[in-house]
């Protein structure tokens, strides 16, 4: 059941990513090809998701845009996770630096994440690198907080003390004892950050502060679509659905991985279906009655 959920979510994400990366070979239309005669056409066999106000194929654009969104999401999730984990581990384990680090993090968290990213992009300019930097900066304080609190919890477990008394060094304790035991919050938080970054990128592009409008991204598509929402709703519906599916899959994947990585989950025996259990119990009790 749990495994099925994870596989479905991961499957959707992988198919979307592969489709997007290989899109230039198989898409019938180019995502940037302008067809002035085909403006704002509805759904048809020729244009599956219709066309936009320049006559570009929406299906091609939606698929191609996934590439950008995934790249930004992954980059932000990866950098924020590595940074957040390192700072969180140090902060949670060494009480002396904890106070200083946490006050800095608190200061960063006082700004709403999106607003912080917005300000940074406005200051640095709207390139892909700048968006990644801005979103990493906006997301890593929360990551740090989550990891730190997980470390604090693990730190007071007895096996840490046991490691100290057996002469294990602090570096080994931090990476062999603490880190594996905070891996589930790290993974969950990483997938959520991934999802959040995709949403934030869309939001930034929607506000016109994202990646240059010439590159198709879901945010850019939505931004362009808003003028035509009443006459051509497919322009906003399809990129919107793409965002929802991606973010939902990521969240399901994160939750599933957390449950899967719990060491207390026994792998040996599979649960029986409830009905078979009841049946077994009944046959056993009747057996005994006969005896």
């Amino acid at each position: 059941m749990l495994k099925k959920r994870i596989w479905i979510a991961a499957g959707i994400l992988i198919v979307l990513l592969l489709a997007s990366v290989t899109s230039s070979w198989w898409l019938p239309h180019s995502p940037t090809h302008i067809e002035a005669t085909q403006r704002l056409h509805g759904i048809s066999a020729h244009n599956w998701f219709g066309t936009d106000h320049f006559g570009r194929d929406v299906f091609a654009r939606t698929i191609a845009a996934a590439k950008v969104s995934f790249f930004i999401g992954m980059a932000v999730a990866f950098i924020a996770t590595v940074l957040g984990t390192l700072v969180g581990l140090v902060s949670g384990y060494y009480r002396k630096v904890d106070f200083i680090i946490m006050r800095i993090i608190d200061g960063m968290m006082a700004f709403p994440a999106l607003l912080l990213a917005l300000a940074l992009v406005a200051a640095l300019g709207g390139s892909m690198t700048n968006i990644i930097i801005a979103l990493t900066f906006a997301n890593f304080p929360q990551m740090t907080r989550v990891i730190r609190s997980a470390v604090l919890k693990v730190k007071q477990l007895q096996f840490i003390e046991a490691a100290v008394t057996t002469g294990t060094g602090p570096f080994t304790i931090l990476f062999r004892y603490v880190l594996p035991n905070v891996s589930s919050p790290i993974i969950v938080q990483a997938t959520f950050t991934f999802a959040k970054a995709i949403l934030a990128e869309a939001a930034l592009s929607f506000l016109g502060l994202g990646i240059s409008p010439s590159i198709p991204t879901w945010g850019n598509m939505l931004q362009e679509a808003q003028e035509y929402i009443t006459i051509a709703p497919w322009l906003s519906i399809f990129p919107g659905i793409a965002i929802v599916i991606t973010v939902l899959s990521l969240n399901i994947l994160g939750d599933g991985l957390r449950d899967l990585l719990d060491p207390h989950r026994t792998k040996t025996m599979q649960p029986l279906k409830r009905k078979t259990q009841l049946k077994r119990a009944k046959t056993e009790s009747t057996k005994q009655e006969v005896i």
């Binding site: 025996m269 649960p271 409830r274 259990q277 119990a281 005994q288």
Partner: protein
């Protein structure tokens, strides 16, 4: 008053079907104390919770059996009827007194609410009754105690309050699930004394569930020994301790580090681990760990049979065979000096 007949409580877990309580029967009379002894995983807590119908269902279900309380089957009662019974007729005390009190309300408020849920009386009267209950359970300054939050009190005090709450409906049957395990020995003695005192005063029947044979030796009139979901021996305290008829009870008694032994005596340990309740061993559940097991024990499951006046055992060995095996065992392993 309470009669349990062939009760089975199974748990539907992700690892398979756990036979936590497997064909258990016993009864308790008014004013009597029954001790249920068993190790962790023997199903004693599930049994206690079944009596109160507190087991979450699912995963727990009852494929067979009945729990007759004053002639009526608790398994067939509706939630509403059960609610009326719990607290009024049946009450339960848990192991951890801190988690059985609500941490955000003062003790007085919780106690008054408990009283008012049983009887429709004015707040003033309920308060007077609460004070009376608190002094009944041996609290020096009930007024002050009413105004405290649970975390401000010591473990012993908390357990006294939990007992006071359990008593608020003047129950006919009190089920105490490891009531003193979380407490210090000096406090434990006080709480056990308190339970006895309450029993004398209110004529309450008490079922005390514990892993500590020392507690039941003092408190219980009759003892049920549980092993892997089954009752393996049942009898008066004297029967169990002096006329032990079953190898598990016998081994358990010899495994206790008693004050009678000196440091040069070697404790008799029971080899192996308690059985897995999902796939219990074939035959007698205790046979893989039993020092006297015969080939027959490995494939025939013993039934609870009479071993004396009120004494029952679930063991295939005859009394004589058991005596002989004990004798042989002691000769083979002379006490180390």
């Amino acid at each position: 008053m309470l009669e349990v007949n062939h009760l089975k409580a199974y748990i539907d877990s992700s690892n398979g079907l756990v036979k936590a309580v497997d064909d258990v029967s016993f009864s308790i009379k008014r004013g009597e104390t029954i001790g249920i002894v068993g190790e962790s995983g023997s199903g004693k807590s599930v049994l206690a919770q079944s009596l109160m119908q507190l087991n979450p269902s699912p995963p727990v279900f009852y494929p067979q059996g009945e729990i007759l309380f004053e002639g009526k089957d608790l398994l067939k009662k509706s939630t509403k009827e059960l609610c009326a019974l719990r607290g009024n007729e049946l009450a339960m005390i848990f192991q951890d007194p801190l988690s059985s009190l609500n941490p955000i309300f003062k003790v007085g408020r919780q106690l008054i609410e408990a009283i008012q849920s049983h009887k429709k009386i004015a707040h003033k009267q309920a308060e007077a009754q609460a004070l009376q209950l608190l002094s009944d359970v041996g609290i020096h300054q009930p007024q002050q105690c009413m105004k405290s939050y649970p975390h401000e009190l010591s473990g012993g005090m908390r357990q006294r309050i939990v007992i006071a709450m359990a008593l608020s409906g003047e129950p006919k049957l009190l089920i105490a699930d490891e009531p003193t395990t979380a407490l210090d020995v000096t406090i434990q003695a006080q709480i056990l004394g308190l339970l006895k005192q309450i029993q004398l005063k209110y004529k309450t029947a008490i079922i005390i569930i514990t892993h500590d044979l020392g507690i039941v030796a003092k408190l219980a009139d009759r003892i049920l020994v549980m092993y892997s979901g089954k009752i393996v021996e049942e009898g008066t305290a004297e029967d169990i301790f002096y006329q032990t008829a079953m190898p598990y009870t016998w081994s358990l008694l010899r495994a206790i580090p008693s004050l009678k032994l000196t440091r040069h005596d070697r404790l008799m340990s029971i080899p192996g681990q308690p059985p897995n309740l999902v796939s219990p061993p074939a035959g007698c559940n205790f046979s893989p760990r039993c020092p006297f097991a015969t080939p027959q024990c490995m494939d025939t499951e013993p039934e609870l049979t009479t071993a004396g006046d009120h004494h029952k055992k679930a063991c295939l060995l005859t009394a004589q065979a058991f005596e002989e095996s004990k004798h042989r065992f002691e000769q083979k392993q002379p006490e180390e000096v």
